[in-house]
Symmetry: C2
Subunit: 333 residues, 2 copies
Amino acid sequence: MFKKKAGYVVAVVGATGAVGKETLEILEERKFPLTSLRLFASKRSAGEVLPCQGKEWKVEELTPEVSFVGVDIAFISATDDISREYGRRLGAAGVVVIDDSGVFRMEADVPLVVPEVNAHALRTMPRGIVSIPNCTTTPLVMALKPLQEAVGVKRVVVTTFQSVSGTGAAAMDELMTQTKDLLAFRDAKAEVYPYQIAFNLLPHIGSFNSDGDCSEEVKILEAPTLRVTATTVRVPVLRCHSEAINVELERPLKPNEARAALAAMPGVIVYDDPSKKLYPMPLDATGKDDVYIGRIREDESITNGLNLWVVSDNLRKGAALNAVQIAEHLAKG
Amino acid sequence: MFKKKAGYVVAVVGATGAVGKETLEILEERKFPLTSLRLFASKRSAGEVLPCQGKEWKVEELTPEVSFVGVDIAFISATDDISREYGRRLGAAGVVVIDDSGVFRMEADVPLVVPEVNAHALRTMPRGIVSIPNCTTTPLVMALKPLQEAVGVKRVVVTTFQSVSGTGAAAMDELMTQTKDLLAFRDAKAEVYPYQIAFNLLPHIGSFNSDGDCSEEVKILEAPTLRVTATTVRVPVLRCHSEAINVELERPLKPNEARAALAAMPGVIVYDDPSKKLYPMPLDATGKDDVYIGRIREDESITNGLNLWVVSDNLRKGAALNAVQIAEHLAKG
């Protein structure tokens, strides 16, 4: 389905957004074999010029008239509407679509992939689309996978601390503008979020239509019996999502054994020495590729209980890096 | 033990700290029957003049030579050392000590009291000391008590989002100074906390000597079988502590029944209509006396599971208000 080539024509849809820009950086850092790059954004950003791999690329306006002929891979990280409109069409036209939206995540014929966890799911992509989990689910499953393999995971209670970059560049601007206004004794204007986010917390991510459980967690773990409950909270942090994860394991696993299992997981760094005040923090994980795990402690309130604190750059492993890793995996054949 | 009087001589130890100042405001707001007020602080703050109930009171330096003769009630909210040094001595000398530190919380002959939860424990104060729970435990037990009474609470997983005012006024200054410095592209200096707190999270409250469980939660609930695990996180918020609480109940309780039970609890306000984007936030709860509870949802990952989001002003119900309410309770006789 995906032909091995010396180089690929890559499209980035949503190129000027927070994830899009990170995608360009990562394509450059990791020397992804590019033949050429096509950048797409809304009319407002069309004409901007962005650098990647030593060249400059002009942003095109995304319209239904745009031809994607010759494009091998399209990274889509824009709105759900854009994913809905272009994802299916490009997938059907033979472009491999790596989609960051929630539109396809629960569709049975669209693999939902974190390469370290379930790269094998890329073997069948009947619609030409692969989905990546949302930016809190990816680090969560990276943390759960080694525990699942070691002793089995029975139930998970996760509480998230999500940075504003998860919403996008406009939300990062809003946090900074609100902070500046408040320091100058001006009112903080809320436009991206329903309320002020500076010096505040919003227990509200996305829409309230669901019961709060992140259903895609279940799918990607390929453990239909996994039971998860989640509370998701927006915090006044620019980058990186953090998660307090409480796990009920199937069988006993000492904290030290958990540390060893987690440390052996590719893409995970165990950073856990409270006696030296070493624990993961958003500030330290910003711009990093790995998922950092610390505060690994026994939870004595239950048999086989374990607490973890996980921090990961939501724009990197939570989004752009995971997408590029999928492309790399496909390119390797 | 505690004589009913028309007015009391009250001492506030740590009067210039964040909790001390709040105590003065609350004594004024609630018209606590004061005959006179004695304010104590370290040498640095001695001589400051603070208002309360229409008068101005001069801050005295706290030294071992200070006489507390004639003082009826002493609120202590300073350091553990101060509580250790003065708590026992004043209690033995007939002063009713209402202590905000962790020094006495686990002592069998010192009641640990939230009046709405266990005012009856004030009947016996053999050492003249009463302890108040820490600023996250008080709202937690306020939320759990009605659930405990309705159907029983089996196990609790709590994740806290604690504001810097929990550390004190210096930490509030540090957050503001760091924020200003970062906005001016200067480095943020960390002195109160080991790392930058502005735009960051520290999964670290107090000391790491314990396993992370808040053992005083068990005592105050008077439910020795209650099982609790906690992850506590400092967030860049000035005031109010928030908590994501996952509860496993003994028997079934629908979210609407939980809302009704919680709403009937004195000192609790249920603020829970996600469809209208109504949920508790630190910004809204600042300066308020009540404990706000929202995001009340069934947790389907377990039988009889319930999720709550609780926000409370840590300087009010979490500290000064709870202490003054205890004094009021004692004064009522």
